[in-house]
C-alpha cells in the first residue's frame, strides 16, 4: 500500500478507540446473556438513549461532559432496574419472548428519541481539541481521553468482579447457576446487578461515542452488532475474551476499509465468526 504512514496511524487510533467502546457494549451484553440468560436486543438503544442524555445535559444545561457522563450512566442504570423488574424477570431462560419484548423496547426507545430530538444527527461538545505529539506521531486528544475513560471503566468492572462479594456472586451465577443458588446466592438480585452494570456501561459507551462522532436515533444498531461479534469471537462470558475479541475487531475496523474496499470490511466479521465456529467453537478464551 502506498499510503502515508500518517493515515495508517490515524486509522489504527480510530479503530482502537471505537473498539474500546464496543468492548463496553460487548461486556454488558455478555453479562445479561450469561447471568439473566436472555438475549437483550435493546442494548443498542440503551446506548443511544445514554448518548442523548449526555447530549441533552451538555447542550441544554451546559453541564461539563465529565459530570454529564456519570449522570447519564446513573439514569440508564435506574432504567435497567426497571426493565429487569417489570419486563425481563418473567422471561428468564426463555428464548423467543425476551427477544420480542426487547424489540418492543427498541421501538419505544427509538421512537422516544425521534419524537423528542428529531431525526437529525446531533453532536455533543468535543471533550478536547488538538492532539498530543508523541514519538513524532500525533494522537488526537479526544480519542486518547475516551480510550482512557473506557479502560478505566473496564478496570473498575474487573476489580468489582474479582474483589467484591457481589461481583463474585455474578461470576458464580454465570458459571453454575444451580451450584451458586445452593451456596445461597439470590439469582434475582444478581441479574438485577447485571442489568445495572450493563446499562451503565452502554450509556457510557453511547456518551463517549457522541463526544467523538455524533448522536442519532439509529446509532444503536452498529455497536449492538459489533458487541455480538465480539462476544462470539471472545468466547461467551469471558472478560479477557471480550477484550481481545474487541481489539481484533477494532483493528480490522480501522485497517480493512483502507486496505480493501468496504465490501471486504463489511464481510470480515461474518467470515471471522464462521472460521471460529468451524475450528474453535468455544471462542478465544471460552469454556463452553
Amino acid at each position: 500500500m502506498d499510503l502515508p504512514a500518517d493515515v495508517w496511524v490515524q486509522a489504527l487510533i480510530n479503530g482502537f478507540t471505537l473498539s474500546w467502546i464496543y468492548i463496553l457494549m460487548a461486556l454488558g451484553l455478555a453479562f445479561i446473556m450469561s447471568i439473566a440468560r436472555i438475549l437483550q436486543l435493546a442494548h443498542g438503544e440503551v446506548y443511544m438513549i445514554g448518548a442523548y442524555i449526555v447530549f441533552y445535559l451538555t447542550t441544554a444545561f451546559g453541564l461539563n461532559i465529565y459530570l454529564a457522563l456519570p449522570l447519564s450512566m446513573i439514569i440508564m442504570a435506574v432504567f435497567g432496574i426497571f426493565m429487569e423488574k417489570f419486563i425481563f424477570r418473567r422471561f428468564q431462560n426463555q428464548l423467543l419472548a425476551p427477544i420480542i419484548a426487547s424489540m418492543g423496547i427498541t421501538m419505544i426507545l427509538t421512537n422516544v428519541a425521534i419524537v423528542s430530538f428529531g431525526l437529525y444527527t446531533r453532536s455533543v461538545p468535543r471533550i478536547a481539541d488538538g492532539s498530543f505529539q508523541v514519538f513524532g506521531g500525533s494522537f488526537p486528544k479526544d480519542r486518547v481521553i475516551v480510550t482512557a475513560i473506557t479502560v478505566f471503566l473496564l478496570l473498575m468492572v474487573t476489580l468489582f468482579l474479582k474483589k467484591f462479594k457481589s461481583g463474585q456472586a455474578m461470576v458464580a451465577i454465570s458459571q453454575n447457576r444451580e451450584g451458586a443458588m445452593l451456596a445461597g446466592i439470590n439469582p434475582v438480585q444478581v441479574s438485577r446487578l447485571a442489568f445495572i452494570i450493563a446499562c451503565a456501561l452502554a450509556a457510557a459507551g453511547g456518551g463517549l461515542t457522541g463526544a467523538i462522532l455524533n448522536v442519532s436515533p439509529f446509532m444503536g444498531t452498529p455497536p449492538l452488532v459489533k458487541g455480538i461479534v465480539i462476544i462470539v469471537l471472545g468466547g461467551l462470558g469471558s472478560l479477557p475474551g471480550a477484550v481481545v475479541g474487541g481489539m481484533i475487531l477494532g483493528l480490522l475496523d480501522g485497517i480493512l476499509p483502507i486496505m480493501f474496499d468496504p465490501l471486504v470490511a463489511a464481510l470480515s466479521p461474518l467470515i471471522l465468526v464462521v472460521i471460529f465456529l468451524l475450528f474453535r467453537p468455544q471462542g478465544l478464551f471460552g469454556h463452553e
Binding site: 438475549l39 420480542i100 444498531t221
Partner: protein
C-alpha cells in the same frame, strides 16, 4: 374419501376462490399494495417458523430474502431470465447460501444461533450495500422488469405492470409455498425435525442424521425466504439495502413480532399475526411519529399477557369457559 375430507376439500377450494376474488372486490391500489405486502410477509414469517420446527430461532431470514430479491432481480435484468425462472433461482440461491451457512451455524444453540443469524443478515445487507458495481450500492437496483404478460393467441390476457394484477402472482406463489410448507410439516420429515427439537441426543441415538436434517430445514426456510424476497423485488420494482430499508434489521424484528403475536406453535400463527399487526399498523398510521411507540408498547404488553399468541386464544377461552361454568357441576 370420507365425507369429512370432502367437506374440508370443498371449503379449501372455496377459500382459494374467495382469496382470488378479493383483489377485484377491493380494487383500491393502496389496499391492494398493503395486501400484497401482507402476503409476502406471511411467507417470510412462515420461513422463520419453519426454523422453529427444529427448535432454533433465526433472526436472519431477512438476509436470505435480500439474497433472493437481489438474485432474482439481477438475473431478470442482466441475464434476461423470464420472471418465473428468476423467481425460482432467487429462492434457490438463498437456499444454497442457507445450506452453506447452516453447517457452521447449526453447531450452536439457543440465543447464540439467533445472534449468528442476525449477524449473517446484517453482513448480507452490507454486501448488497457496498458491492456497488453489481447491486448499485447506495441507490440500489431500479427498473426491475415487469413479469411477462399472459398472452393467448396474440392477445394480452393479463399484464402485470401494476399491483392490481401482480397481486394474483403473489397470491398464487404464496399459496403454493404455504401448501408445500404445510405438507412438509405433516410429513415424515417433520417427525424427524420434532425429534431433533425435543432432544438432539435422543434423535441421534435413534439413527437420525441430526446435522443433515437441521441443515435441510434451514435450507428450506432460506429457500422460501428467498422466494418472498424475490416477490418483493418484483413488487417494488426497485430495491435498496441501506440500514432502514426492507432488508434492514428492523424488518427481522417485525417478522418475529408477527410470528409471536400469531403464535409460533400453530401453522396459522404467521398468517394471523401478520394480518393482525399489519392492519394494526395501518390503522395507527394517523398517530404518525408515535406509531412505532404504539406498536412497541402493544408488543411488550401482548407478550407478557398472551405469550402463546393469537392462535392460543380459542384454547384459553375454552379453559376460561370451563372454569367459570363447569366447575360447579364437578363440585356438586
Amino acid at each position: 374419501m370420507n365425507s369429512k375430507r370432502i367437506i374440508s376439500l370443498f371449503s379449501i377450494i372455496a377459500l382459494v376462490i374467495f382469496l382470488f376474488a378479493v383483489p377485484t372486490l377491493i380494487s383500491n391500489y393502496y389496499w391492494l399494495s398493503v395486501l400484497s405486502l401482507v402476503l409476502i410477509n406471511i411467507l417470510l414469517v412462515s420461513s422463520v417458523r419453519t426454523v422453529i420446527l427444529i427448535g432454533h430461532l433465526s433472526l436472519g431470514q431477512v438476509g436470505f430474502a435480500a439474497v433472493g430479491a437481489y438474485g432474482a432481480a439481477l438475473l431478470a435484468m442482466e441475464a434476461g431470465l423470464p420472471f418465473w425462472a428468476a423467481l425460482i433461482s432467487g429462492g434457490l440461491m438463498a437456499g444454497l447460501l442457507a445450506m452453506a451457512l447452516g453447517y457452521p451455524f447449526l453447531k450452536v444453540k439457543g440465543m447464540y444461533f439467533a445472534i449468528l443469524t442476525l449477524l449473517a443478515a446484517e453482513s448480507i445487507r452490507n454486501v448488497a450495500f457496498f458491492w456497488a458495481s453489481l447491486t448499485g450500492g447506495f441507490l440500489g437496483l431500479t427498473n426491475i422488469p415487469v413479469p411477462e404478460p399472459i398472452v393467448i393467441a396474440g392477445r394480452v390476457l393479463m399484464d402485470f405492470s401494476r399491483v392490481d394484477n401482480y397481486i394474483y402472482i403473489v397470491l398464487a406463489v404464496v399459496l403454493v409455498s404455504l401448501f408445500i410448507l404445510y405438507k412438509l410439516e405433516h410429513s415424515h420429515l417433520n417427525t424427524r425435525w420434532s425429534a431433533i427439537r425435543d432432544s438432539e441426543e435422543l434423535a441421534r441415538s435413534s439413527g437420525i442424521n441430526v446435522s443433515w436434517y437441521k441443515i435441510l430445514n434451514f435450507a428450506i426456510a432460506g429457500f422460501f425466504a428467498g422466494i418472498s424476497g424475490a416477490l418483493f423485488a418484483f413488487f417494488q420494482h426497485n430495491i435498496s439495502a441501506d440500514a432502514v430499508s426492507r432488508f434492514g434489521a428492523l424488518t427481522s424484528m417485525y417478522m418475529l413480532i408477527y410470528l409471536v403475536v400469531g403464535g409460533e406453535r400453530k401453522f396459522a400463527g404467521p398468517i394471523l399475526g401478520t394480518f393482525f399487526i399489519m392492519l394494526f399498523s395501518e390503522f395507527t398510521r394517523p398517530f404518525k411519529e408515535y406509531q412505532l411507540m404504539l406498536i412497541g408498547t402493544f408488543t411488550v404488553v401482548f407478550v407478557i399477557f398472551i405469550p402463546e399468541g393469537l392462535t392460543s386464544l380459542p384454547g384459553m377461552l375454552k379453559l376460561l369457559y370451563r372454569k367459570t361454568f363447569k366447575t360447579k357441576v364437578i363440585k356438586g
